[in-house]
């Protein structure tokens, strides 16, 4: 590979999927473009707040706060953890983001592979068929 480090990570991304990074970055930027959402990420660093406790901190409805949390969740910036009857919100931006990104890449890679497998199986079978070991 050309250069170790960042270069190989990028090459890996391209080899595996060849796209998708833009989408992830878009989602991340969109999620962080709102001051309330940035505040939620800050407040939930220790993961001790439930959505309802969090909602009390803002002059808006529970549903509106819940929506903000959902946007952050989709961008991989917070995750919900169940503790007893409560759902606690924890921001762990980098860990979640990276795990999600890796799985998204893997998913895209496999969707492409399955698609190509289907294409190969749709090709006519050759007449000479032998069993391979």
């Amino acid at each position: 590979m050309g250069c170790p480090g960042a270069g190989s990570a990028i090459t890996y991304n391209r080899m595996v999927v060849d796209r998708g990074a833009d989408e992830i970055v878009d989602r991340l930027f969109h999620a962080l473009a709102d001051p309330t959402r940035r505040d939620i990420v800050r407040r939930c660093a220790d993961g001790e707040l439930s959505v309802s406790r969090l909602a009390q901190a803002y002059p808006m409805s529970f549903a509106a706060v819940q929506k903000h949390v959902a946007v952050l969740e989709r961008a991989g910036l917070v995750r919900k953890e169940r503790r007893g009857r409560e759902q606690l919100v924890r921001s762990d931006p980098y860990a979640i983001q990276r795990a999600r990104q890796a799985l998204d890449q893997l998913e895209t890679a496999w969707l492409g592979r399955v698609d190509r497998m289907s294409g190969l199986l749709a090709e006519p079978e050759p007449d000479t068929k032998g069993h391979r070991p």
Binding site: A6, A9, I10, R98, A99, L103, D104
Partner: protein, 160 residues
Amino acid sequence: MSVTSVDKDLDTLTLTLVAHFDAPAERVWDLWADPRKLERWWGPPTYPATVEKHELVPGGGVTYFMTGPEGDRHFGWWRITAVNPPRSLEFRDGFGDEDGNPSTELPVSTVRMQLVDEDGRTRMELRSVFDSREQLEQVLAMGMQEGLTLAVGQMDALLA
């Protein structure tokens, strides 16, 4: 579309994918077991794979390289841990160098593939588990940073 379901588990770093093919299990197995067929689907069209070694036996391995748009080669390997033709295959999947030495920078995953007959079709279940979160984070931190730098660069260009 052949893919029937995809599930991603962030806690266990696992991807589970189910696909259905209109072909008997033997033909689907052949896509894995025949190196010439394998190289027609493993890599994306922009990074086609060339399989060099292909031994689908426990303890055996597969080595291949993917050729990039500029002729750049990237080496990958499988270590076979279990094989049961034409039903299941389990292997460790990673990148490395020309001699098959595993890369310390790129993530390794364990892949388990199963084929089941279902109503005249074949159901393929694939489960891929990344080895460690630490390794993954190291790799993706670099990728993510690069992605953000690119995005910020694009924003700067738009604002200029």
